[in-house]
Amino acid sequence: MNNLFLIAFLDVKESIRAKWFLIYTIVFGGLIALFFIAGVTESQVMGFSGLSRLLLMYIQVTIVILPIFILITTVRSISGDRDNHILEYMLSFPISLHHYYWGKVIGRFATVFLPVLFAMILALFIGLFKGSGIPWNIFILYSGLLFALCSSFLGIAFLISSIVKSSEIALGFSFFIWIFLLAFIDIALISLMMQNRLSEELIIGISLINPMEVFRVAAISLFDPQLTVMGPVAYYILDNIALPLFILFSIAYPTLVGVLFAFLGFKIFKKTDLV
């Protein structure tokens, strides 16, 4: 077995035994179960129903909590390994930094992506069992969005772990980035919009830099764009950009951001002191 996959494989095995992974899996699996118990599939809200409605609710919650899960667990484990000298020992073996770093990235990706995907597949199975139709287009779009969401925040997490050497500071930093992307950018943009200082196009453009905003809009994009549940930004985007193009962008762009950040993290990992 190649060293890259050895590292990835051992990382996955280690994660699966960790408490955070148990909580992580229970939260996302539990979310699906909860929605079913709450009867989301039976309710008819705002024109759409059944599994579509359930998956929409799932992805909307996931977009908010998955990034902070990914940031905290990844940053904690990587800089934790540094803090308590695990890295010092493991790197004393003849494994290239390239294999070590990307092996960790692959291992982490599998552990954060697969449980959220399985939760969705679980929903499909229960839905099938209950006899509701399967909204394949939504399922495929959301799988893509989850993939992109995991990539982008994993990339950010690896970059933070490479820059910040202490796990305490790295944790604080992760939390800040999450809050910033989640709320502050929106608030700032809304206030700019209200003051009419910048053109609408520019503001929308800026909001599209934020992967969180892209996910939010993409998640509702397959539903009727006239719906009032969407914010003004989403409405504007879906009104002005062709839907297939936007969907492609919503998956490609965050994935690219993640790869880019992870790559930057690797450069820094190589260039600075390891322990």
Binding site: K13, I86, P94, T272
Partner: protein
């Protein structure tokens, strides 16, 4: 051969190693001594290629341990001062070692037995759940199995009981391969049978270097 030329390492403004020159040749068995904060661990980490020197260079058999990391580390086995809380099971740790270094599993098991570490019933256990002494024995067994051309031990016996310490010294003496050993130690009397050179460091400098 470990060749250290004009090696300086600063962290911020604090100098941890101050323009050190040192040559360690095949056959040298060194006791590296000095008070806490002298720079011993920093020196070792530079040899292992973990730190980027502020100035000067380290060469292991003529190779740069950062640029030719895999080549250099193929020949070095290292045991840290405190066994880290590795979360892998013993089985997984052994797999990691075997796959990355081409050491046979049987060899590790053999040296574990020599160190009187009962490894079979613990294979599925996480490494960090072993007692301090058991962890240290495991890391020593791994390092002996690797038979590195260069062995670097940062206070290897700190956690061991006297019996285990004797075992360890006996195993070291039966290894008889003509290479380099570097022991950080505070107890020179204990190591006197093993080492043939003593280097004393303080404040990032080599104060004394003699054959014994």
């Amino acid at each position: 051969m470990i060749q250290i030329e004009n090696l300086t390492k600063k962290f911020g403004n604090a100098i941890s190693l101050d323009a050190i020159n040192l040559k360690i040749q095949s056959g040298d068995c060194v006791a590296l001594m000095g008070p806490n904060g002298a720079g011993k661990t920093t020196l070792i980490r530079l040899i292992l290629g973990y730190y980027h020197p502020t100035n000067g260079q380290v060469l292991i058999n003529g190779k740069n341990p950062i640029k030719e990391r895999v080549d250099v580390l193929q020949n070095i086995s290292f045991v840290p001062q405190l066994p880290p809380p590795i979360k892998l099971s013993l089985e997984e740790l052994i797999a990691y070692v075997c796959k990355s270094t081409q050491v046979q599993k049987e060899k590790i098991l053999h040296f574990a037995q020599e160190m009187e570490l009962d490894i079979e019933p613990n294979l599925k256990k996480s490494f960090f759940k072993l007692s301090g002494g058991m962890k240290q024995k495991m890391l020593i067994a791994i390092s002996l199995a690797r038979r590195g051309e260069i062995i670097i031990y940062d206070e290897p016996t700190a956690n061991l009981d006297p019996k285990a310490r004797d075992n360890f010294h006996r195993l070291l003496q039966t290894q008889n391969h003509p290479n380099i050993s570097l022991f950080v130690t505070h107890r020179i009397d204990e190591m006197r049978d093993i080492v043939n050179r003593q280097i004393y460091m303080d404040l990032g400098k080599i104060i004394n270097d003699e054959k014994i």
